[in-house]
């Protein structure tokens, strides 16, 4: 069922309209059929009434039938004369027809004491030969119907109406009249009508559906690719409520952009106001005579600066001004590895063929620095392995450090969570490194994963999509 249900507005609209039309036409067909049936019954009973009138008239105008012995059937106008009624109580009485027949016969000046009209499916044996109305043989032999070709079916008989009246002398006069069945083209007409109306509706429906769904589609696309401050307002089109929606979306996106702009200004101010005293301190530190004391102070200042930098980068991520450009990942890794080698870390990296990817190089370098820096901090030797599949690149940074308890791994990505239980800063770092690395990777459509290696140590993997 869900497979048949279209997943777009136009499709659903068409399907619903088609279903409603089918229902309406079915109902319509049913009513038409009922009307036709009533019509056919009336028609049949009218034929019966006129045949009775004709027969009785003829009887009255010629000679009395009884006196001449049993006359031929034809002479008696196919009427059946009986002393008892031919109608049995289990037959379906049609009071409406009885009333009509009574009126008609009374108007024509006949008198009778009783009138009965019934409809039956099967002609009772007693009435065999006393039938007026449709006759298959006659239909088929008519020259008009022959010329119409064989496709036209003769009208089907659908039961009979039996009209029976009791004359004042107690004699019953009865006649059966065939009721026409439904016309064979009835269903065909109905189907043709349904399809025609649906096809006529189809074009305006599709046009209207698109009129509604097009602006919604573009709104969806815009909302999905929303980049604050980058998009101009979306054109307001479609029906009024859709226009309202688009206007509301435009207002909302400009509010979001404004808020983010304000945030950027605030972050810039924080960065500036904290860095200036830090810079002044950094210069004054040069006056400290004690070398080891000075180095420790410098390390402290650099640590604070790094933390500040991480916080600001994290807060600004996604609003980067840097364009993503095709960049060779291999040389990027190599540059970072060289930095750490220069600091005296043992890092092994097998460089391979060039591997271009669309990235923001400054950010990815930062993520790599964080991962390699962590590995170098907790391990003594670091191994970097690049794995490539069809659509993604995996940069594994393996260390031989203590690893992380499996239940703590996801928590490592939370801001300000560090591998050590106590938040001591002996190993340096802000506790934002992994958070930032993952945020950067996700910003690029990738991710950062941590896992403990078999045989000890941690593997941090930076996954990037490549096109």
């Amino acid at each position: 069922m869900t497979r048949l249900w279209p997943n777009n507005l136009v499709g659903q609209l068409l399907l619903v309209v088609a279903l409603i039309m089918l229902l309406a036409q079915g109902l319509n067909g049913f009513l038409l059929y009922r009307g036709m049936q009533t019509q056919n019954l009336i028609e049949a009973s009218t034929a019966a009434v006129s045949r009775i009138a004709f027969g009785l008239e003829r009887e009255a105008s010629t000679r009395p039938l009884v006196e001449r012995g049993p006359p031929r059937r034809r002479q008696r106008g196919h009427l059946k004369f009986t002393t008892e009624t031919v109608i049995s109580p289990d037959m379906n009485r049609l009071s409406e027809l009885e009333v009509r027949a009574e009126q008609a016969l009374t108007n024509m000046g006949f008198t009778f004491s009783e009138i009965e009209a019934v409809s039956v499916r099967q002609l009772p044996a007693a009435m065999e030969g006393y039938v007026v109305g449709a006759n298959r043989g006659r239909w088929r032999n008519s020259s008009i119907n022959r010329s119409m070709g064989s496709r036209r079916q003769p009208p089907q008989t659908r039961g009979f109406v039996i009209l029976s009246i009791q004359r004042p002398n107690g004699q019953w006069v009865s006649i059966a009249s065939a009721v026409r069945g439904r016309s064979p083209i009835f269903i065909r007409t109905l189907v043709f009508q349904t399809i025609t109306i649906f096809l006529l509706l189809l074009i305006p429906l599709i046009l209207f559906g698109r009129y509604i769904s097009r602006p919604l589609k573009s709104l969806t696309v815009r909302a999905q690719s929303f980049q604050p401050g980058v998009n101009e307002a979306l054109e307001e089109r479609g029906p009024p409520d859709t226009r309202d929606l688009i206007r509301a979306f435009n207002d909302m996106s400009s509010r979001v952009s404004t808020m983010l702009d304000e945030k950027d200004v605030m972050l810039g101010a924080i960065g500036h106001d904290l860095r200036t005293p830090l810079a002044a301190l950094r210069i004054r530190v040069e006056n400290v005579e004690d070398d080891s004391e000075r180095d420790r102070m410098i390390a402290g200042i650099e640590d604070m600066d790094q933390t500040l930098d991480d916080i600001l980068s994290l807060a600004r991520l996604g609003r980067s001004q840097e364009q993503s450009e095709p960049t060779d990942i291999r040389s990027l890794i190599e540059t970072v590895v060289d930095e750490y080698k220069d600091m005296g870390h043992d890092i092994s990296y097998q460089r391979g063929a060039r591997q271009p990817a669309h990235i923001r190089a400054t950010l990815i370098r930062r993520a790599l620095r964080n991962l390699i820096g962590n590995a170098a901090k907790y391990g003594t030797s670091v191994d970097i392995i690049v794995d490539k599949s069809d659509d993604r690149l995996m940069i594994h940074v393996d260390d031989d450090g203590p690893g992380i308890a499996p239940d703590k791994i996801e928590a490592m990505f939370e801001p300000f969570v560090r591998a050590e239980e106590s938040r001591n800063r002996a190993t340096g770092g802000s506790g934002l490194g992994l958070t930032l690395a993952r945020a950067i990777a996700r910003d690029h459509g990738g991710d950062v994963m941590l896992e403990n290696r078999e045989g000890g140590g941690l593997r941090a993997s930076l996954i990037l999509p490549i096109r």
Binding site: H272, R275, A279, A280, E322, T327, E334, R354
Partner: protein, 239 residues
């Protein structure tokens, strides 16, 4: 005329400006201080400066605007000092003709080294990083854009360089075909002299070769001249 290098230090933060000036004086420079752009302009008229250290974020006329004024009217090199680290700012600064950029907080020793590099470069003619528009060098299928400090291969892919590698490559490019020994390269790129067994230059060169040479063992672009130093071979087109 004094032989001391004369520095104009422009920063609105007295808490930073004063200790920095003291440090620079201690390092043997002559320093004038300005708290804003207009004070700097009047000092610029009064003295003959060798280099300007300029803060970007200042009340009133900002550093970028003052830098534009300086590069349009004089040849004095400018080093930006700023708390802003956004990468784009670096590009803007260099496009406006600043010669280098250092972010707060910085090591004063690093600043002195950079001052020396910039002075060496501006004294030696070519090699100024920002000449207003940024230079583009093309060599052996590679393109080096100085305004973004980016090295791009024949397929348009960016290849990452460390600052040291970039400066080394730029030094070789601007003196293509010229043999440069280790001392000269150190002097140009880091503004310092080599000490004994200094492998810094060889290290940078071999890293650079790994990134740009087809076969780093058999270099075609950066050639070693035995007993002399290094030389960039092949045609260099400057755009």
């Amino acid at each position: 005329m004094s032989t001391k290098t004369h520095i104009l230090l422009v920063d609105d933060e007295a808490s930073l400006r004063e200790p920095l000036a003291a440090y620079l004086i201690k390092q043997g420079f002559k320093v004038q201080q300005a708290g804003d752009a207009s004070a700097a302009r009047s000092l610029l008229n009064a003295y003959d400066f060798d280099i300007i250290l300029l803060d970007i974020m200042m009340p009133g006329e900002d550093g970028l605007s003052f830098c534009r004024f300086v590069t349009e009217t004089t040849d004095i090199p400018v080093i930006f000092i700023s708390a802003k680290t956004e990468e784009t700012e670096r590009i803007i600064g260099l496009e406006l003709g600043a010669d280098d950029y250092i972010t707060k907080p910085f090591s004063p020793r690093e600043l002195v080294a950079r001052i020396k590099v910039v002075l060496r470069r501006s004294g030696n003619g070519p090699g100024k990083i920002g000449n207003g528009t940024g230079s583009i060098y093309q060599f052996s299928g590679w393109t080096l854009k100085t305004d973004q400090r980016s090295l791009i291969d024949a397929e348009g892919v960016n290849v990452s360089l460390s600052t040291g590698e970039y400066q080394m490559l730029l030094a070789l490019l601007t003196r293509a075909g010229q043999v440069l020994n280790r001392d000269q390269l150190l002097d140009i790129t880091q503004g310092r002299e080599a000490h004994a067994f200094d492998r810094a230059v060889d290290n940078q060169i071999s890293r650079l070769r790994r990134k740009i040479e087809q076969d780093p063992k058999n270099p075609e672009i950066i050639k070693t001249v035995w007993g002399g130093g290094y030389l960039l071979a092949g045609q260099v087109k400057t755009l």
